[in-house]
């Protein structure tokens, strides 16, 4: 029963949602709307589970002083600080003004944004290093890739942009697009096949092993 009931629910709602997609009647759309509400409600439980999991993993790390445990303190501090400062109660003078509160805003603007931006900026350095090491004209195909990459990179450089940009645009819009389109068509067919396998009950790995 532990497997049959979830499987039956997935098959039932899978077919139902598929049918509702193609039925433009008002009643059918109302059912669709209700089902979407249900999905959001169920999702909230997943959120609670996620928070619980984050807390328990990090508390465990701190308790047993596992590797890099001090970072867990920072994680938990960040989690609770943002929850507390994001709360909304009291009057206009209260420091708890939800997402508009001074502390919430400043934690976001002055801590989160610089951290995220720094992490992303570091990518430029790793890309430069990786390009230096990996972009070698070892074969004809590698040479084509190398030349293509260089043309695309220099397409905006003043003085030569006039000549490089049309070539770069062609590379992006023709060979690149053709390859991407083929990949996406393959991905699309794969998604349809997987979806069908799920709602036909063939694909069951999401049920777990127990």
């Amino acid at each position: 029963m532990k497997r049959q009931i979830p499987l039956a629910l997935v098959i039932l709602f899978g077919w139902l949602m598929l049918a509702l997609y193609f039925i433009p009647l008002e009643g059918a759309q109302k059912i669709n709307e209700n089902l979407l509400d249900w999905t959001a409600i169920i999702g909230i439980f997943a959120l609670a589970l996620g928070i619980w999991s984050l807390i328990s993993v990090n508390v465990d790390k701190i308790q047993y002083k596992k590797r890099d445990w001090p970072y867990s303190i920072v994680t938990l501090f960040g989690l609770f600080a943002m929850i507390v400062f994001g709360l909304k109660f009291g009057g206009a003078d209260s420091m708890f003004q939800g997402q508009e509160s001074y502390m919430f805003r400043h934690f976001f603007d002055d801590i989160l944004i610089p951290i995220f931006s720094t992490m992303f900026s570091l990518l430029a350095f790793f890309i430069a290093s990786a390009a230096y090491r990996a972009f070698r004209a070892r074969s004809a195909l590698a040479t084509i890739l190398l030349v293509g990459a260089i043309i695309v990179m220099i397409r905006f450089f003043p003085f030569i942009a006039e000549y490089t940009r049309p070539v770069a645009d062609w590379i992006i819009n023709v060979p690149n697009l053709a390859a991407k389109r083929a990949i996406w068509m393959g991905v699309g067919l794969g998604i349809v096949a997987t979806g069908l396998k799920v709602i036909l009950g063939i694909e069951r790995s999401y049920l777990g092993r127990d």
């Binding site: 997609y21 759309q29 669709n32 709307e33 979407l36 509400d37 999905t39 959001a40 999702g43 909230i44 959120l47 909304k88 939800g98 997402q99 508009e100 805003r105 976001f108 603007d109 989160l112 944004i113 951290i115 995220f116 931006s117 992490m119 992303f120 900026s121 430029a124 350095f125 890309i127 430069a128 290093s129 390009a131 230096y132 090491r133 972009f135 070698r136 004209a137 070892r138 190398l146 260089i150 990179m153 220099i154 905006f156 450089f157 003043p158 942009a161 940009r165 645009d169 992006i172 819009n173 690149n176 697009l177 991407k180 389109r181 996406w184």
Partner: protein
């Protein structure tokens, strides 16, 4: 570096050394280039591409009182590339008195959206500077000129839900005001009541906009994406599923240039150009070393 490594390196020829530069040199040179070029007064010409111009033209063609939905679906890591797009589009809409309904379906998106809103919006009509540009005072009022709906989890459901009614998932806006009491939202039920959706995104939220809003509800959709995402979405432009595409700092700079709103993206282009040149030089150096030592390596 250990003594063995130092001895081995001292036996290398010049060409071999070119191939085996320590990556810290690459980091250092790139850092110097990025920092120094920021202060060089140089203008990079950014002629607008067709895909960026089509977004600009579509917004420019709107009438006063029309409404668009601007989806700010990116986190702070994409700030440098995508924030200027948000600023440029918001600015263009406010100049034209086009209403903007803003949503944020990525987790840190509301913070980004609110930062842009706080920078631009002004109910006191004072002159201000944002995105590197100074503007004279003008009144932009919450609920009248724009409305910020905020974040809801499960973006695929929210995008589908908004196709039926915005109130399915947003009964109140980000500031806890009932949607029905917001002037700009009074006549807006679903996508049929807005002219277009522009999704500025650094994540897979963009796929849901294409699949559910554009494909299912036939919404007129344009995208602003990070540079690395760009090539993935060109096929949708070719198929007509989206009508415009802005990619990375360049896309933002092109839009700024079109909108006569030269901000941080146009300024950042010079740094990007020189950084690319530096990377190309490193690639060339490595290849000179590679070809110069082929014989020695018996290739």
């Amino acid at each position: 570096m250990s003594n063995n490594q130092t001895n081995n390196n001292s036996n290398l020829s010049f060409l071999e050394r070119l191939m085996l530069l320590d990556r810290r040199w690459v980091f250092l040179v790139l850092a110097l280039v990025v920092v120094s070029t920021y202060y060089i007064p140089m203008k990079v010409p950014v002629p607008a591409s067709t895909e960026v111009r089509s977004i600009y033209d579509a917004v420019e063609g709107l009438k006063e009182g029309d409404k668009i939905l601007l989806a700010i679906d990116y986190d702070p890591n994409a700030l440098a590339e995508l924030h200027p797009m948000t600023y440029a589009i918001l600015e263009q809409c406010f100049r034209k008195k086009v209403g903007v309904i803003i949503t944020s379906l990525s987790q840190n998106g509301p913070g980004m959206a609110e930062q842009a809103i706080l920078d631009i919006v002004d109910s006191t009509a004072l002159p201000r500077t944002y995105n590197g540009v100074s503007y004279p005072g003008r009144e932009i009022i919450n609920g009248v000129d724009y409305c910020f709906l905020g974040y809801r989890a499960y973006f695929e459901l929210v995008i589908t839900g908004m196709g039926q009614n915005f109130r399915t998932f947003y009964s109140r806006d980000y500031y806890d005001v009932l949607l029905d009491s917001i002037p700009i939202m009074k006549d807006v039920q679903n996508y049929d009541d807005i002219e277009m959706v522009i999704d500025i995104s650094g994540s897979n939220v963009v796929d849901a906009w294409i699949k559910y809003a554009a494909a299912r509800y036939d919404v007129k959709l344009a995208l602003g994406l990070t540079g690395v995402m760009m090539t993935d979405y060109y096929p949708y432009l070719g198929s007509g599923r989206i009508f415009g595409l802005m990619g990375g700092l360049l896309g933002a700079a092109e839009y700024e240039s079109l909108a006569d709103n030269p901000g941080l993206a146009m300024d950042g282009m010079k740094v990007q150009v020189w950084a690319h040149i530096t990377i190309i030089l490193f690639i060339l150096i490595a290849n000179i070393g590679y070809f110069g030592t082929r014989k020695k390596r018996g290739l």
